[in-house]
Amino acid sequence: MKTFNYHAAKDVKEASKLASNSSAFLAGGMTSIPSMKLGLATYKDVIDIKHIKKLSGIKVSGKSVTVGATTKHAEVASSKDVKKAIPSLAKLAGGIGDAQVRNRGTVGGSIANNDPSACYPSACMALNAIIHTNNRRIEASKFFKGMFETALKKGELIEAVEFKIPEKSNYQKHPNPASRYAIVGVYLAKHKKEVNVAVTGAKSSVYIDKDLSKALSSSFSSSAIDGMELDSSEMNSDIHASAEFRASLVTTYAKKAVEAC
């Protein structure tokens, strides 16, 4: 791994001030450190944000669950408050990577990285999340810009993610057997006025499947989407799953999610 200067930021202001074109914020490091080791990413400065207390923790109100950026997956998975308010969110966090990854990895890191197969971006999209940064609030639908791309600007730091509590929700994942990343992950959320079916792993970035969402908004039952064939032309194809197989998995897992609600 190429050398860098490590900084442990005391507060958000300091972290933001240290940021440059060749810096990275470090939270759990579960993606950033392996990426640096493999030479996929190099930085002059690594700014550790884990010691900034206000970035960690879980708050539940009547309408939303707000998870601090550096809150670990294991904390979300085991939180009684999250389990009660949005059980599917706790389930999603408990299925990321493995126990050791969940002891380090964070929600902020996951969504800032925006891996096309990451679990959390689908929760953000389905649960109409608001991403709170150090200078603005970004709706999830405007946050995820494309493969490994987000709306974050230089020096902009995620402080917390606010998930709206739905009436019902469920997350279903077809994991890669080695990495546990989603070959396809479907996050279904039934809100008062709409149903969102967010899909990860299938395309270059997380998205809302409009056909499935529309069909389930009219009739919230698995028969409403039974046999629905989705357009696979923009779907990923690799040794694990062809685009056609992924398209079929999306419908299958959306059905499973409805049935599990």
Binding site: M1, K2, L26, P34
Partner: protein
């Protein structure tokens, strides 16, 4: 260079290391604690698992400086007064190892499981050990060893 001050197996350690020093390298090369193994070096195989402040983590994907002020337990820190930890005893008794390369990580990970769940089922053990890979494929006996340890701990 940056100062890394941590407690390892009950002893305070304070050493200068390059900023980008990985914890597994710090333990093995700077402290000569070679019981922590490095397998894949990309946080998938789990041979490098150690405990930081009581929780299992992959030391190959953690910066040494990142855990400044923490307490680290490695496989070398488990035996007390020449007596093996019950998890180590169980791995020995149930033949939970063949070549032994994955064993330090398996043992450290399994101890963390029992901290979270006292009497895990077979499937819970297998699920928890998801991040620990044994290429001798000795999983049956590893699961049996964890169950044996659970009955003793």
């Amino acid at each position: 260079m940056i100062r890394v001050t941590i407690e390892v197996n009950g002893k305070k350690v304070s050493k200068d290391a390059p900023d980008h020093t990985i914890l597994s390298v710090f333990l093995r090369d700077n402290l000569n604690l070679t019981g922590t193994h490095v397998g894949c070096d990309t946080s998938q195989c789990g041979a490098c698992v150690v405990h930081v402040d009581g929780k299992s983590i992959k030391s190959c994907s953690t910066l040494a400086v990142d855990i400044n002020g923490s307490k680290v337990t490695t496989i070398e820190g488990l035996a007390k007064e020449g007596k093996m930890h019950p998890m180590q005893e169980a791995f020995k008794k149930m033949h939970g190892l063949q070549c032994g390369f994955c064993t330090p990580g398996m043992v450290m990970s399994a101890i963390d499981l029992l901290q979270n769940k006292k009497n895990p089922s077979d499937s819970e053990i297998r699920e928890w050990l998801e991040g620990n890979i044994c290429r001798c494929t000795g999983y049956q006996n590893i699961v049996a060893a964890v169950k044996e340890a659970a009955s003793k701990m």
